[in-house]
């Protein structure tokens, strides 16, 4: 089970390509989500503004109204529902444009359904630590954001800066799948595909430091999806 079973979301997908819509449905509905599809911009805008949703998935290139415009309009009208852009445009500038228009994340087509699923979970995370929370806790693992101290079962653990950054990210998304791409983008600010095992190396280092010798493995690998920090299901 990729998603935390408690998260069953009402998702509005504004997408004119029937194949993409079918893929998104086929990927998200088995996880218990309710996926509604609006096949064009105007219908999408109307439904987004008049009904309540947990998350909006908006294709940037729509006939008629463009995706950025829709989100901008919604934000202007005070709609704060998280919005994720789907697009064939993959330039870094395009991503920045999307975020500036009020989007919360940006996924380039073609995407793996597991990637979409993980990002949606991250956007709608319930029970996620608030920015003001200075101590993050998962089981007996504790991270203090002010002192940057990490302890497990009372034992202090020394982490290098990148290792710390990865752990903090995993803890902020505790219980959720975090994909390799999410880590590359959010922890390393790498917007390209590395030709070496950057993420894998750091995860294995992290495992060696915070899991080895303790009773439970908290850093889990979710096959074909990514990683998750939490108690094994």
């Amino acid at each position: 089970m990729i998603m935390d079973p408690k998260q069953e979301l009402r998702i509005l997908l504004i997408e004119d390509d029937p194949r993409t819509a079918a893929l998104v449905r086929a990927g998200l509905e088995p996880e218990g989500h309710d996926v509604a599809v609006a096949p064009d911009g105007r219908a999408g805008l109307l439904r987004a503004a008049s009904e309540s949703w947990d998350i909006l998935i908006v294709d940037r290139m729509l006939p008629g109204l463009d995706g950025l415009g829709i989100v901008r309009t919604l934000r202007g009208a005070g709609v704060v529902t998280p919005a994720l852009f789907l697009t064939a445009l993959g330039g870094v500038d395009d991503r920045v444009d999307g975020l500036r228009a009020g989007g919360d994340d940006y996924l380039v087509k073609p995407f793996a359904v597991a990637e979409l699923s993980a990002r949606i979970a991250a956007l709608v995370r319930r029970g996620a630590p608030k920015p003001e929370d200075t101590i993050l806790r998962v089981a007996d693992l504790e991270l203090d954001r002010l002192t940057r101290e990490v302890t497990r079962a009372g034992h202090a653990i020394t982490l290098k800066p990148r290792e710390y950054a990865v752990l903090e990210y995993l803890m902020r998304h505790a219980g959720q799948v975090v994909t390799r791409t999410m880590l590359l983008e959010d922890v390393w600010d790498f917007h390209f595909d590395p030709q070496t095992s950057v993420v894998e190396s750091h995860i294995s280092r992290l495992r060696a430091k915070i899991d080895r010798g303790f009773d439970r493995e908290l850093v889990q690998t979710i096959r074909s999806a990514g990683y998750r920090l939490g108690d094994a299901p």
Binding site: V92, P161, E163, D189, F190, F192, Q195, V198
Partner: protein, 458 residues
């Protein structure tokens, strides 16, 4: 040809110059003319007036007999160049040494008819006719031949000078105009040949370093760039086709295989493999798009100030770990406070690319050194390894798109790592050069040097 000639700026400028020269010539003429002739005539006129006043002692009312006596007395002194004529109301001569019809009252300049003279060597007379009581008229004149000759001389000199100025001006104007036109025509002709497909053509320079040469140099630089881009496009077309074929061909193999296997697990495996091939093809096309975007320079607009030292340190820390896992080692010597204006995402990609190349091509036990320091007002970054390196004669090939160094294209990656790094460097006004890293002939290693030009000091 002719109408075009007169439209050139050169000719127009020459015409303007000519006009100004003419105006100054005319002004000069006027000044000289009235300066010399005017003065001389005034002197002459003064002398004549003097003579008249000596004869007409009582002005115009002086009696005829007194006037006649005065004239005879003046003549008795045998003046060389003064002439007198006193006529009565009927036109009969009373006294004088001049034989001609009395002109009307007032000042006159008289020229002797062709072949005749008023007196030996006197061709021109200047004089004043004064009416006196009784209808008589007194004409006193002086020999103004020299005046006239001077007049002619000045006029002729001016005409000749003016004519010469005009001729030189026109010749120069036409000459320069034609030369300028020829230079421009050369540029146009080169342009036409280039449009017809000859990208090696360049515009010849005259060597004088003038504005036309500057223009030609700029255009030649542009042409060189066009030639390079055309070559790139041709190469890319070939290579993209080839490089996209491999993953797509393997994809087809996987899919056909999955059609033939009955075992669902094996079919799953074949399909997952197929997805992997598609991802490889997609990775390639994304890299191509990224490269095109970078080379078009569109990203410059979003440049910001970046703490380059910090960026490099983070990359060093990240890849220390990765290198260790690959059985190697990465060391970093980074000077602090190196500031750059650029795109952080692209700089990350560029440096990461170079470090990853070193890790991937070095094999076990590779030592990689990342260094960054100030070099005057520039910044220099080097990534050096002790791996097999790249032979010098293949450096150019390595920087070309898809210029893979091993013959089999089955190797990992899309071969765009170095070209991408080079394109990002160029976008940031930096050069990327390859060289050997050590003296060892078997494993010379590779040093990639990035030289960022005149960065402002922090």
């Amino acid at each position: 040809m002719l109408p075009k000639l007169f439209q050139t700026t050169s000719v127009r400028l020459a015409a303007l110059g000519l006009g100004l020269a003419s105006v100054s010539a005319v002004v000069l003429f006027v000044v000289i003319y009235y300066g010399t002739l005017g003065t001389m005539r005034a002197t002459l006129d003064a002398a004549i007036t003097n003579e008249i006043s000596e004869i007409l002692i009582a002005g115009p009312t002086t009696p005829q007999t007194t006037v006649a006596a005065g004239v005879r007395a003046a003549l008795a002194e045998r003046p060389a160049n003064i002439f007198f004529l006193l006529d009565d109301a009927g036109g009969r001569m009373i006294a004088g040494n001049l034989h001609l019809a009395m002109p009307r009252p007032g000042w006159h300049t008289l020229a002797a008819p062709e072949g005749q003279v008023f007196a030996p060597h006197a061709h021109v007379l200047r004089g004043h006719v004064v009416p006196i009581t009784g209808g008589d008229r007194l004409f006193v004149a002086a020999d103004a031949t020299m005046l006239d000759e001077l007049n002619e001389l000045i006029r002729r000199s001016f005409m000749i000078g003016f004519g010469i100025t005009l001729a030189i001006g026109l010749a120069a104007g036409i000459g320069f105009g034609r030369r300028a036109l020829a230079r421009v025509e050369a540029v146009s002709a080169a342009g036409r040949e280039i449009m017809d497909g000859d990208f090696t053509r360049r515009i010849p320079l005259s060597g004088s370093g003038d504005e036309f040469d500057h223009l030609a140099t700029s255009i030649n630089a542009m042409l060189a760039r066009i030639e390079q881009l055309m070559a790139n496009i041709r190469a890319v077309g070939d290579e993209i086709a080839h490089d996209l074929r491999s993953p797509l061909a393997r994809l087809r193999e996987s899919l056909e295989l999955s059609l033939r296997v009955a075992d669902p697990a094996a079919m799953r495996g074949a399909m997952e493999d197929a997805i992997g091939q598609v991802d490889a093809a997609l990775g390639l096309s994304v890299a191509i798009l990224r490269l095109a975007q970078i080379e078009s320079g569109a990203r410059r607009a979003s440049f910001t100030r970046i703490d380059f030292s910090l960026l490099l340190e983070e990359i060093a820390e990240t890849y220390e770990t990765v290198a260790e896992d690959a059985g190697g080692r990465l060391t970093a010597t980074i000077e602090p406070d190196l500031i750059l204006t650029g795109d952080a995402a692209l700089l990350n990609q560029m440096v990461a690319n170079l470090v990853e190349n070193a890790i991937n091509h070095g094999g076990n036990g590779t030592a990689i050194a990342l260094a960054a320091s100030r070099a005057g007002r520039d910044i220099e970054v080097t990534v050096a390894d002790n791996g097999p390196g790249i032979p010098a004669e293949r450096h150019a090939m390595a920087l070309r798109r898809f210029g893979r160094l091993d013959a089999s294209r089955a190797a990992e990656g899309h071969g765009l790592g170095l070209p991408l790094a080079a394109a990002i460097a160029t976008l940031h006004d930096a050069t990327l050069t390859l060289s050997g890293a050590r003296n060892d002939p078997v494993r010379p290693g590779l040093r990639v040097t990035l030289h960022f030009a005149s960065v402002s000091p922090c």
